[in-house]
């Protein structure tokens, strides 16, 4: 064997393979370092007369710490909503291997339910929606929770009627959920109209908070989103780690048949996981409908965010969803803020680059494990 290994031809091939293996690592590490240097120190700021060449809207972090911090917070808080929605998606996939392509319409329907309930509770509807000063905190929270419950019931219904009898046929299940998404999205346009609307934040949250750091006054609603996302993440983590149901779910992710053979009612566990996953989509819809807006096409966008988050983080992993959401939120916000001012519209490419880099190294995502 040693004679074979020392043959010059073989040695050269081994060396080539090594270069081929480490080049992408080196390239991506270099790109990340370059991005940090650019954002931190190098990016020049636009002049008073607009942006020229590579000048960016804010300039480097050293030059303008206030906008840097605001961008950082924007990224982290956006990641909060991404995480809430994507954690439901990844929970369902992890246990049942069901890619729920209807997750986006569950999100949108949840948002619409919360929106309509809020308008009914407040009772003052106008063409321009509600003002936050009209809305009490419970008039935001109760509609959102009811929406979550409604979508949970819808999700379990969908699972029992359409997905229970064809377990294991993952492509067919994905196609079924796509069909449901087509019908539901079209019916939502018919019933809720084609205009973008948003859920009003409660008045107590809709203000700016002085953070006393670099003079940043940051919107309280976004910090609230972050707090809610962290709370949901912790609750999910405790549920999966500390309770019996969570234990069964974790076992089911690893070996469904074994769990079932040990006498656990795996069908009940499936239904519970589907209910929780859908409820997260519904609640995410209320959160996202307040954070952004609700309208036709929004379902597709949030399905995309969920997909990107779980592809990056690894399907079925809660920690992966958190990391994926954080990466997506940070990359999309920083790329649109720190690209040269005349080219910020290219920021969408960076979402793709992020996805491409992760897939090139880890086809199953950062925390993904083979099924």
């Amino acid at each position: 064997l040693s004679a074979v290994e020392t043959a010059p031809e073989v040695r050269r091939q081994i060396a080539l393979a090594r270069v081929a293996r480490y080049t992408p690592w080196a390239l991506s590490a270099g790109a990340v370092v370059l991005a940090f240097l650019w954002i931190g120190f190098l990016a020049p700021a636009c002049g008073a007369n607009g942006c020229v060449g590579t000048q960016t809207n804010f300039g480097s972090a050293v030059h303008d710490p206030q906008d840097f911090l605001a961008t950082l917070l924007d990224g982290v808080t956006a990641a909060g909503v991404y995480f809430v929605v994507a954690s439901g998606f990844t929970l369902i996939f992890g246990l049942m291997r069901v890619v729920n392509m209807a997750h986006g319409v569950f999100f949108l329907l949840g948002g619409y339910i919360a929106l309509k309930l809020q308008r009914a509770f407040v009772g003052q509807d106008s063409a321009f929606g509600l003002l936050s000063s009209q809305v009490h905190f419970w008039q935001w929270l109760v509609p959102s929770l009811i929406a979550a419950v409604c979508i949970a019931i819808l999700g379990v219904g969908t699972q029992q009627i359409f997905l229970r009898w064809n377990q294991g046929q993952d492509l067919r299940q994905a196609l079924i959920t796509i069909a449901i998404a087509i019908i539901a999205a079209d019916q939502m346009v018919a019933h809720f109209g084609a205009f973008a609307e948003d859920i009003a934040w409660p008045g107590v949250l809709d203000r700016r908070l002085n953070l006393h750091v670099a003079g940043v006054h940051y919107t309280l609603t976004r910090l609230f989103i972050l707090a809610v996302a962290v709370g949901i993440g912790l609750a999910l983590w405790l549920w999966l780690k500390k309770t019996r149901t969570g234990m069964v779910i974790r076992a089911g992710v690893d070996d469904r048949q074994m769990v079932s053979a040990l006498g656990v009612n795996i069908q009940l566990t499936f239904a519970i996981a589907f209910a929780v996953g859908s409820a997260l989509a519904g609640f995410g819809g209320a959160l996202g409908g307040s954070f952004a807006s609700l309208g036709p096409g929004v379902d597709g966008n949030w399905l995309l965010y969920s997909l990107v988050v779980v592809i990056i983080g690894g399907m079925g992993s809660l920690g992966g969803a958190a990391v994926g959401a954080l990466l997506l939120g940070l990359v999309s916000n920083f790329s649109s803020a720190y690209l040269p001012g005349n080219y910020t519209f290219y920021s969408i490419i960076f979402t793709f680059v992020l996805l491409a880099v992760v897939l090139a190294f880890r086809p199953l995502g950062l925390f993904g494990r083979p099924a």
Binding site: L171, I178, A181, I183, A190, F352, L359
Partner: protein
């Protein structure tokens, strides 16, 4: 001379294929202008795009949602290269053929890149990764005003021999027909080559193929690149036919529509591409004329509800799509015919498999 049932089946299939082909070739004599320019031309070109999807799923085990994005890339490149006077885009105003060449080359190159990134995944992961490609391509052309922006690119000229599509609809009709036939023949040929056979091996058992020494990701990547090339042909035809392309032409709804077409036709049979396209375009055009639908709140605007219900029904009842249903119907007929011939020719009970029924002949 008595034919075996295999030969009979084959003859029957060839007869149907020839019949469809002759009907299509004589199209302008049979159908009115509306059918030629709005229905059949669209069926051919959408069928080509669907064929690229079905090729990947039937022979590569990869259900791709990126075909519409690739078709759009070819279309946008063509539009940017040949047009002048759009408010957005490059407005290069070059030769139409150069536009076609660049469109196809760039879209195929992007397909190889996409394929390389997704090549270590298969099945459901592949579906998700390609869906993100599709949405990102749509957002890219929506946001990047250098190439398009939301308004898209209008006034795309066709090469001289096709002329203005609304004046000479028959020319583009025949071009689309020829492209469709060539694409069909090329795929049928490719899957019989060593590459095609290996690809089917990769589809069935990637681990075994890998241990036999085949480069599995490379085969997936090349197949994806080839499918991207076919999709780019459809993109060129689409822009010629439509004269205009905008991000809405490749949005999520369009992406899903192509999947719906492929599934309705049959994800595992190449012919399903055009069958699915035909059914889809027909429903889209004639939904308003179906009596009774209006009373239950289904109007032209609710087209996607109708197509979604049909899609759901197909997926629930016949995962092989309409081609699967036709295949099953064919089997039933074959069994009936065989049963009758079996009784007439060989009275002795046959212990063989059903397909050996006419062996003694």
């Amino acid at each position: 001379v008595r034919l075996t049932s295999q030969e009979l089946k084959r003859a029957f299939q060839v007869a149907i294929a020839l019949g469809v082909l002759v009907l299509a070739a004589l199209g302008p004599l049979i159908f009115n202008t509306y059918w030629i320019s709005f229905i059949l031309t669209q069926v051919f070109l959408v069928g080509v795009a669907a064929a690229s999807l079905i090729f990947l799923s039937a022979y590569g085990g990869m259900v791709s949602l990126a075909q519409v994005a690739l078709y759009g890339i070819a279309g946008f490149v063509l539009g940017n290269v040949v047009t002048t006077g759009n408010s957005k885009g490059l407005n290069l105003g070059w030769n139409p053929w150069l536009g076609v060449l660049l469109g196809i080359v760039i879209a195929t190159a992007v397909a190889f890149l996409f394929g390389a990134l997704a090549s270590r995944s298969a099945g459901i992961y592949f579906l998700m990764i390609t869906l993100t490609y599709a949405v990102i391509a749509n957002l890219f052309f929506g946001q990047v005003t250098t190439f398009s922006g939301f308004g898209g690119i209008s006034g795309v000229r066709t090469p001289g021999f096709i002329g203005q599509v609304d004046v000479h609809p028959n020319r583009l009709y025949y071009v689309s027909l020829v492209v469709a036939v060539v694409v069909y023949a090329a795929i049928r040929y490719l899957v019989r080559t060593p590459f095609g056979i290996t690809l089917q091996g990769v589809r069935d058992d990637p681990v075994r193929m890998s241990s036999l020494g085949y480069n599995v990701p490379l085969h997936r990547m090349v197949a994806f690149g080839f499918a991207g090339f076919i999709a780019s042909l459809a993109g060129v035809l689409f822009v010629w036919w439509n004269g205009h392309i905008d991000p809405a032409s490749i949005d999520l709804s369009a992406t899903i529509d192509l999947l719906v077409i492929a599934v309705i036709g049959g994800l595992y049979r190449l012919e399903g591409a055009w069958l699915g396209a035909f059914v889809f375009v027909l429903i889209n055009n004639y939904i308003r004329s179906v009596p009774g639908l209006g009373h239950i709140g289904i109007t032209e605007e609710r087209f996607h509800t109708v197509i979604g219900v049909i899609f759901l029904a197909i997926v629930l009842l016949s995962p092989g799509g309409l081609m699967g249903i036709l295949g099953k119907a064919g089997e039933v007929i074959e069994r009936l015919v065989q049963g009758r011939r079996g009784v007439a020719a060989t009275p002795a009970p046959s212990a063989g498999t059903p397909s050996s029924g006419s062996g003694p002949d």
